[in-house]
Symmetry: C2
Subunit: 415 residues, 2 copies
């Protein structure tokens, strides 16, 4: 996608001028545009992000760049804010207050303006600072249940789903990134891969020579591209979530694509596992085990509740033909499939965050380099174990038991 | 889709005028346009079809109507010839001489012009006339293998596949027909269902009260809409094939959509099974068993051969990570999935052709009504058995053994 002739990267002055031309948003900020504070908060890898504040309020301003923000040599089409805007419009009516309010999209400048969350903290940062907010994980479970159920064939006529799939199947550049960085590069020699700790190298070599693991990754790659069950967030790590103790919002939906529901679940679970291994404190680890369980159980129960409440009258194309116990069997099979995907995608997410291109900051809280290496090796070894033994790690209880056993603390899992 | 202002249903005079304005096609016919013979051969349920012949050659002219041809009260968008044209353009380079040559598409008139096959017979008609051409079934196996492999993620970068999926995901009207007529209506009371023989009613009631069967149909419906493995023909019955003893062509791709590969296989196998039950002659039945086996084995072997020959260098996004015996395991799993879909979709195709909206002519060759009823009941009972016991009918050998046992002749299957 070539930049439109009108495209230019906006600086603070241009951002003020643009917002001044949008009466509803200008009124939200209040005062004269010359007085608005424009503060850059770009944090992710891809886009320019600014908070723009006036006397009455603040908004978040996001603009695509024609390249990866942190690597200008990596060219990229501008349309990612378009997909984020469309994602927001699709899931906001389904997920209540669990995302940010959509305010404006400019198709020439690839600018998206949404509600500001300046009182919230990025969840990864909060976790690294030792915050424990037990409400967050179940809120994400609610979010995934409503966003995925409501965009699936269970809730909507297939014509609506096919039309939405068509829109998001154009999100090629970011889907290619997921495919390469999550599901391909880490499993072979590639210049984008890197890890600092030589202690990890033997595990990497083991992973790359394990046929069972490679087959599991091949299967996940196929499922990512060929199971368009629902509209995914597509990048649901703890950096895509902003929260306080009481209010949680999912942001940054630019990777949105139709795919397997367990992909979103697995990204979130995988990032909680990274936090788990980056936090050697016994009580904190126990709390993270509970977070993972709370996320899954809330997701599972809410998804099933939505499904059952939709049975009469059947609104989606996949309304049941069989009722009673047979319908329960069909639903359980579908939930088991999501569970299997969740475990698999959690595994590849953990691996790519340790040996791939885009690492996470979780382990930076550990001062001693040998301890960092040990913790990373623990996470990597766990993910390897899970992917190599997917046929034995089939339920959330299995997953948590193995996680508790893998941490070296000897703590029992939460069952 | 509203008709374009230029749209009108063309009569013989208008067809001559249109073709006269297309120099390449006019030259193919030769002579003066006033002398061209225009002969209506509309046969399917949906479109007007004419053969237009001149001194040097003949072409096939197809135009969408704003309704179902055989039921003007059933309104329908005109774009089906567009999807047929796009299907032809996509699969013709992959399938050699196994379809018709694309000649022209007119987007205002929804007119598709292709190579004429006036020397060929519709396969269903040929079968009903007792022709046995052993080359046809393996040629269809070749056709399905090349058309599906070549449009899948195994052969092409995901960007190409997503772009093609987007195009065919707009084929909503005909996908809705498949969904309703094949995968929904027959399993409940619906005014479009009908069957003449009261002897069938108890089997219909049994099917509709069998939880295992209904769950199998639900699963097939989900797979039809959610497994976009490859570009399907979408309606591969024996009326969509024209043949001589030596030359076989697949036509009528207007139902084209991305879906599970076993859907096309199952449609073809299901229609051979209908012919099997409509032909009480022992030797003819044995020949049909061999046709079904020959179709499947040629499809299976050719698909695998294409896959293996594509491994180095990997051109598709689903290139393998694991090689050697592990890759064989992955390939076998994928082929088993296609086999399971083939058996399931064959089952629903048989059922809908006997108790749904669109029956086939196969059974019309049987003069005595009680014998027609017996033969239809045999086919219906077989399909019911297969769908209710999918976990026991897992290979082509299983399928053929049960088919031979179900026919009442006591013949052994071909193994």
């Amino acid at each position: 996608m070539e930049p439109t002739p009108a495209y230019r990267t906006l600086d603070a002055t241009a951002i003020r001028a643009l917002i001044a031309s949008l009466p509803t948003i200008a009124a939200r900020l209040g005062g004269a545009s010359a007085q608005w504070q424009v503060r850059e908060v770009s944090d992710g890898n891809l886009n320019n992000v600014f908070l723009v504040g006036g006397p009455s309020g603040e908004v978040c301003f996001k603009q695509s760049l024609p390249h990866v923000r942190v690597d200008p040599s990596w060219k990229m089409p501008l349309d990612r804010t378009f997909f984020e805007a469309e994602w927001l419009r699709a899931i906001q009516p389904l997920t209540g207050g669990l995302t940010t309010e959509f305010l404006h999209y400019d198709p020439d400048l690839y600018v998206l303006i949404v509600e500001s969350l300046s009182g919230h903290t990025v969840l990864r940062t909060a976790l690294m600072q030792g915050a424990h907010w037990p409400g967050v994980a179940p809120r994400i479970g609610m979010f995934v249940a409503h966003a995925t159920f409501g965009t699936s064939l269970l809730a909507r006529p297939f014509e609506d789903v096919f039309t939405a799939r068509r829109l998001f199947a154009a999100n090629l550049a970011l889907t290619r990134i997921t495919l390469d960085l999550v599901l391909d590069d880490p499993y072979r020699d590639h210049p984008r891969n890197h890890w600092h700790d030589p202690a990890l190298t033997p595990i990497v070599l083991d992973i790359r020579s394990s046929a069972a693991t490679l087959l599991a990754v091949e299967n996940l790659r196929r499922r990512f591209l060929s199971q368009p069950q629902a509209l995914l967030h597509g990048d649901l790590h703890t950096g895509s979530i902003m929260s306080t103790a009481d209010d949680t919002r999912v942001i940054d939906g630019e990777f949105a694509v139709y795919g397997p529901i367990g992909f979103d679940c697995g990204m979130f679970v995988g990032n909680l596992v990274l936090h788990y291994f980056a936090t050697p404190d016994r009580a904190a680890r126990q709390a993270t085990l509970h977070d993972i369980a709370a996320f899954w159980h809330r997701f599972h129960d809410e998804f099933l509740a939505l499904w059952i409440s939709h049975d009469t009258p059947p609104p989606g194309t996949l309304h049941p033909l069989a009722y009673g116990p047979a319908a329960d069997v069909a639903r359980q099979r579908f939930m088991d499939e999501i569970m299997a995907d969740t475990i698999g995608f959690a595994g590849v997410e953990i691996i790519r965050r340790i040996i791939g291109y885009a690492h996470t900051a979780d382990f930076d809280t550990i001062a001693a380099s040998h301890q960092r290496a040990t913790c990373r090796a623990g996470a990597l070894g766990f993910a390897y174990y899970v992917l190599e033994h997917l046929d034995q790690v089939r339920t959330m209880a299995d997953f948590l038991r193995h996680l508790a056993e893998h941490d070296g603390t000897g703590l029992p899992g939460p069952g």
